[in-house]
C-alpha cells in the first residue's frame, strides 16, 4: 500500500470503476444501488453484494456525511488525514479530510464532499467540514 502523497493520485481506472471516476470528474459522488433489493453498497460492484442481483446502477449521493473514524499520518510530508465517512445514504467510505484544521477534526463531525484534481481530467472525492 502507498504511504506517500505522490501515489495518492495514481487512479486505477478499469471497466468497473470508470463510471465512478467519470462521475467524480463532473463533480458527482456516485454510489451503487441495486434495483432488485433496493440496497446501496460501496465500493461499487456490478453484482450486488447484498443479494447477488446483476441489476445494479450508479446513483448520485447527496455528498453529506459524518466522520466515522480518522487518523492523521504524522510522518508524511505534509501530514494527511485518512478517514471513514458514513454518507447520509448509509454506506461508509474510505476518504481524506482536507482543508480543515487537523487538530480540530473529530468523530461525528459533519462533512461535505469536494473534489480534488487527480490528473488526466479525473477528480478524487474527498471531504471537508460541512
Amino acid at each position: 500500500m502507498s504511504t506517500d502523497q505522490e501515489s495518492k493520485i495514481n487512479l486505477v481506472v478499469n471497466s468497473e470503476s470508470k463510471p465512478y471516476w467519470e462521475g467524480a470528474a463532473k463533480g458527482q459522488l456516485l454510489i451503487r444501488t441495486c434495483n432488485t433489493c433496493g440496497k446501496v453498497h460501496h465500493y461499487p460492484r456490478t453484482i450486488c453484494p447484498h443479494c447477488f442481483s446483476d441489476d445494479t446502477a450508479f446513483v448520485e449521493a447527496s455528498g453529506n456525511g459524518v466522520i466515522y473514524s480518522y487518523s492523521v499520518t504524522r510522518q508524511a510530508k505534509p501530514p494527511y488525514v485518512i478517514a471513514y465517512v458514513t454518507l447520509d445514504e448509509g454506506v461508509t467510505m474510505l476518504t481524506n479530510i482536507v482543508d480543515c484544521e487537523i487538530d480540530k477534526i473529530h468523530i461525528g463531525q459533519k462533512v461535505r464532499v469536494k473534489f480534488s484534481e487527480a490528473g488526466d481530467g479525473y477528480a478524487l472525492p474527498v471531504f471537508t467540514s460541512a
Binding site: 500500500m1 502507498s2 504511504t3 506517500d4 502523497q5 501515489s7 495518492k8 493520485i9 495514481n10 487512479l11 486505477v12 481506472v13 478499469n14 468497473e16 470503476s17 465512478y20 440496497k39 446501496v40 453498497h41 460501496h42 465500493y43 461499487p44 460492484r45 453484494p49 447484498h50 466515522y68 473514524s69 480518522y70 487518523s71 492523521v72 499520518t73 504524522r74 510522518q75 508524511a76 494527511y80 485518512i82 478517514a83 471513514y84 458514513t86 448509509g90 454506506v91 461508509t92 467510505m93 474510505l94 476518504t95 481524506n96 468523530i107 461525528g108 487527480a118 478524487l124 474527498v126
Partner: protein
C-alpha cells in the same frame, strides 16, 4: 469431524536472525524446515504434507517442495490470509491428519523485509487487481493509519485511552528482556510509549510492532507418529478461522474476526477463556491485542482497556500472561507476519520450555491467535487451542 486430539505439534523452530542480508528467502524457509524437523526428531523424507502462505516465493509449495527436496509430499496447502495464515495452516493440517490424508505436516514462514528495504526492493506488494484497490489506495492507506482508525473509534465508543494501550507494550517489553534474540529488549514504561513519536493518531511508535527478517516452522503429526518420538508432544485441541470484511459499506472497526474464530476454537476444544493459562495474541499494534482479547471473551466488549492495565498481561504478575517471547511488539514479526511466532511461544509454554522467568506454571492449556490483513476492516482471523497430553 472434530480435530480435537487427532494431531500433535512435535517440532518448532524460530529463526534466530532478525536481519537476513546474507540469506535468500528460499534459504530461510529451508533453514527453518531443517530446524523444525530436527526439533521433532524427524527427517525431510518423513514429511508427507507441506503448508506455506504468500511469503513463499513462486508458486508457493511447488517451488519450495522442489527447493527443499521434499520427495514424499502427498498433501499441500497454500492458504493465504496474511499474518494469520500459519494458524489457519495448523487448523488445516490437523484436519488433513485427522482425515488420514497425511501423517507428518511441515509448515514454514520466512521473510526478509529488513534486507529487502536495504537492497531497495519493495517490501510489500498489493495487487492492483484487488477490487478495493481503485477506491482506497488514492487516499494513502497504510498499515499504521488503518489500524489507528480502529483505535480511534474504540476510544470514541468505549473511552479506551492511550495509557491503557501502552500497558500492552509494557507487558511485552517485560517479557522480551529475557529473550536473547528479541529485537527490542529494553523494558519500557507507559510514559515511554506515550512520549514516543506519534506515527498515526492515536498510535505512537511504541504502539507498533518491530519489523524483522527470519521466520519459523512447525511440524505436526498423527498420534501414532507422535508416540514414536521422544519430544514432548503438544496436542491440538481445537481451532477456528474466520474472514471479516467491510460488509458492502457497513463498517464497524471496533471488533475483529476473532469473535467468530474464537468461539469455534473454544467449542471444539471443550474449554472456555477461563481455562486458558497462557495466550499468544497477535500484536502488530497494541490495539490489535486489545480488540482481540475482547472478541475472544477474555473480557467484555469495551472493557479491554481496563483488562490490559496494571500489568495484567505480565507473566507472574497478571491474570493472563501473554506473548512471553516479547511478541511482535518487541521480539519478532518476521516478514510482517506474526501468526507463526504466536504458535511457537504457545508450544514452548505447554512444553514448559519458555524462559524460566516467564514460564507459566502448569501451563496445560494455551491459546494462539492470528490476525491477517487490516484489523476490523478486511481481515482473516484464526485461533488455535493447544494442550498438554493430559489436557
Amino acid at each position: 469431524m472434530s480435530i480435537n486430539g487427532k494431531s500433535y505439534i512435535v517440532g518448532i523452530y524460530e529463526h534466530p536472525c532478525r536481519a537476513a542480508l546474507d540469506k535468500t528467502l528460499p534459504q530461510l524457509h529451508a533453514e527453518i524446515a531443517k530446524g523444525a524437523l530436527a526439533d521433532a526428531g524427524l527427517s525431510k523424507d518423513d514429511v508427507d504434507a507441506y503448508f506455506c502462505a504468500g511469503d513463499a516465493p513462486g508458486l508457493g509449495p511447488i517451488n519450495m517442495i522442489e527447493y527443499m527436496g521434499l520427495n514424499n509430499v502427498r498433501h499441500m496447502d497454500s492458504t493465504e490470509t496474511g499474518g494469520s495464515s500459519y494458524i489457519v495452516h495448523v487448523n488445516h493440517a490437523a484436519q488433513a491428519i485427522a482425515a488420514g490424508h497425511c501423517n507428518v505436516a511441515l509448515i514454514t514462514l520466512a521473510g526478509r523485509p529488513v534486507a529487502d528495504a536495504k537492497e531497495g526492493k519493495p517490501t510489500r506488494y498489493y495487487n492492483q487487481q484487488a477490487p478495493d484497490f481503485p477506491f482506497e489506495t488514492p487516499y494513502g492507506p497504510n498499515v499504521t493509519n488503518m489500524y489507528a482508525m480502529c483505535a480511534m473509534r474504540h476510544m470514541y465508543e468505549y473511552g479506551t485511552t492511550s495509557e491503557q494501550l501502552a500497558w500492552i507494550k509494557v507487558a511485552a517489553s517485560h517479557h522480551a528482556q529475557y529473550n536473547e534474540h528479541a529485537r527490542l529488549r529494553n523494558v519500557v514504561t507507559v510514559e515511554d510509549v506515550i512520549n514516543s513519536p506519534m506515527i498515526a493518531d492515536p498510535l505512537h511508535r511504541l504502539d507498533c510492532c518491530v519489523i524483522t527478517d527470519g521466520g519459523g516452522g512447525i511440524v505436526m503429526v498423527s498420534p501414532e507418529v507422535a508416540k514414536s518420538l521422544k519430544r514432548t508432544r503438544v496436542k491440538v485441541l481445537g481451532a477456528g478461522e474466520a474472514p471479516k470484511h467491510l460488509a458492502a459499506g457497513q463498517v464497524d472497526l471496533t471488533y475483529s474476526g476473532a469473535c467468530w474464530s474464537g468461539p469455534k476454537a473454544f467449542a471444539e476444544a471443550g474449554v472456555t477463556p477461563a481455562d486458558i493459562k497462557y495466550a499468544s495474541i497477535y500484536d502488530s499494534f497494541t490495539i490489535t491485542v486489545l480488540e482481540t482479547l475482547e472478541d475472544l471473551g477474555f473480557c467484555k466488549k469495551g472493557e479491554g482497556g481496563s483488562f490490559v492495565s496494571d500489568g495484567n498481561l505480565i507473566s507472574g504478575v497478571g491474570k493472563l500472561p501473554f506473548n512471553t517471547d516479547g511478541g511482535g511488539l518487541c521480539n519478532n514479526h518476521p516478514g510482517n507476519r506474526g501468526g507463526m511466532t504466536k504458535v511457537l511461544e504457545a508450544v514452548r509454554q505447554v512444553r514448559g520450555e519458555a524462559h524460566p522467568k516467564v514460564q507459566v506454571r502448569n501451563c496445560d492449556i494455551a491459546l494462539a491467535h492470528g490476525t491477517g490483513g487490516l484489523l476490523g476492516s478486511r481481515m482473516g482471523s484464526a485461533t488455535v487451542i493447544l494442550g498438554s497430553e493430559d489436557a
